[in-house]
Symmetry: C2
Amino acid sequence: MTVTQAPLKRRPRPEGGRPPPPVWPGGGSASPSRPGWRWLAQVALVVRFEKGEELYGDDSRADAMFAIITGMVKIHKVLPDGKRPILAFLFAGDLLGVTDQTTHAVAASAGSAVTAYRYPSVLLERSLHQDAFLEFNLLIRQTLCREVREAREHALILRRLDAAGRLAGFLSRLLARAQGMGEGDWDLYLPMDRSDIAAYIGTSPEAVSRAFRRLADDGVVRFRDRRHVRITNPDGLAALAAGKTPR
Amino acid sequence: MTVTQAPLKRRPRPEGGRPPPPVWPGGGSASPSRPGWRWLAQVALVVRFEKGEELYGDDSRADAMFAIITGMVKIHKVLPDGKRPILAFLFAGDLLGVTDQTTHAVAASAGSAVTAYRYPSVLLERSLHQDAFLEFNLLIRQTLCREVREAREHALILRRLDAAGRLAGFLSRLLARAQGMGEGDWDLYLPMDRSDIAAYIGTSPEAVSRAFRRLADDGVVRFRDRRHVRITNPDGLAALAAGKTPR
DNA sequence: CGGAGGCTTGAATCCTCTCAATGTGCGTGG
DNA sequence: CCACGCACATTGAGAGGATTCAAGCCTCCG
C-alpha cells in the first residue's frame, strides 16, 4: 500500500481512468449525486495498491474502511486447501471493510491498480459529530444493505448448475451495474480475467471458456477481444440469467 | 397474520417452546444479554403466523420489520419457473425486514408457527429519539453485518459441488448457531423438512437424503428420528464442511 | 523476435439430476 | 384401539453435464 497524499481542504479530483470509470465515493451505484460526505474527507488518506496487493487480509484487524476511487477490488476468502473463492467484485464508488466486528471475516485484494480513500476507524469515531454521525449511519446502512442484496444475488447465481446460466447471471449483474452508472449501452469491459470469473461463479476457467463460447455461438454475446464483450441479445441473456435451467 | 396483543408496559414472556428455544429479541445469536431495546417495545405488536404464511412477499412494501420470538422463518425468492430457493433460515431472536429500500427484495414466510414482534417503520421513525436512535442504528448495523456474513457463508456452501459437503456445511452452521446459544451440545433439531434443506443448499430432496445417508454411514451423524440428529464425529463434519472436495 | 502467461480445446470419468416406485411416520376417522 | 390415508422420506436406474487432466493456441510484453 502506498500513501499517495493526505487530503487537504478538498477532495482531489481523480484523473479519468479508462475502463473503470471514476466515481465519487457515495456508497451506491445508483446515486453518484449524493449530498456528499464532505466530513469523511477530514480523515481520509488517499492510498494506492498495485494489482494483487491486499487491502486487508482474512481475519485481519478491522481498523479502517475504504472507498474505491479507481480500479477493481476482489473480496475473497482463503480456504484451507489454498483455493481463493471470490465473493464479490467492487468498483469505483464502492465502500468496503464495513463491519461490526473487530476483525474482517474476508480478505480484500486489488484486482487491478487501485486508488482509494482510507478511513481509519479511530479517526472516524473521533471526528463524527451530530449531522455527520447521522449521515454516516445512513451511508453504512446503505452500504450494508447493498452488500446483502449482492450476496443474495450471488447465491442465486451459485445455485445454478449449468455454467452458461451462471455466466449469464454474472454478465447480467455486470451489465446492470454498468448501465446503472450511465455506462455505454451494451458494451461491457471485463476488468477480471477468466480465472477470476471462474472463482466468482464457482467453476473452473475451462468451464468459463466453454460457457463464453456457447453464449457467443448462441448469438447472445460477441467478443471484440478477450476483455470487451458486446451483448448482442439482451433478452436472450436475461432469459438465461433468469433461470432457463435452474436447479 | 394474527395480531395477538399490543405490548403493555413490559415485553411479555413467551412460554417456552420445545424444539426452537425462545430468546429475547436482541438481533444477534451471540448476545442474548444485550442492553435491551426496551424502547422498541413502544411500537411493537405481537403477531402470529401459521406455518406457510407469508410475513412479507417478494417486492412487497417494506413497511415494517420483525423480531422473531418463537418459530422459524424462511427467506426466499420466487423464481419465474415457480422454484422458491431459500436464502436464509431465521430463528428466535433474529431481526428481519431491514432494508434501505421502499420494497423488500425477497419474501419471508413462516417455516413453522411463528410469533414475532412487528415494528411498523412509520411508528419507528416517529418514536426514535436521541439515545434510542443511537441504539437503533447499532442494532440495525449488527443485524445487517450478520446478514452479510451469513449470506457469504451460504455462498461458500453453494460453491461446493458434492451434496455431502454442502450438507455438512449446512449442519455445521446450524450446530454453531445452536451451540452459540448455549444449546445442547451435539444434538441438533432440524426445524425444516428435507425439501427445505434442499432448497437452501441448492440441490434436490433426493440428494439431501442420499447425503444424509452417506454422513450416517461414515459415522459422522446419527439419527434419532427424521428431525433429530446427533453429531457423532464433529471433526469429521468440520473436515467435510471445510472443503474436502471443493470446487 | 522470443518467451511466458493466459486462454481455449479435447477426451475420459465421476457425480448429480430427473423420473419413478417403494417405504415410513403421523394424524384422522371409524 | 385399530386401520386407513396422506405427506414426507428414502431408494433405484438412466442420462446428461461438469470436473479433471493434458495439450495446443493465442496474445501481450519484454
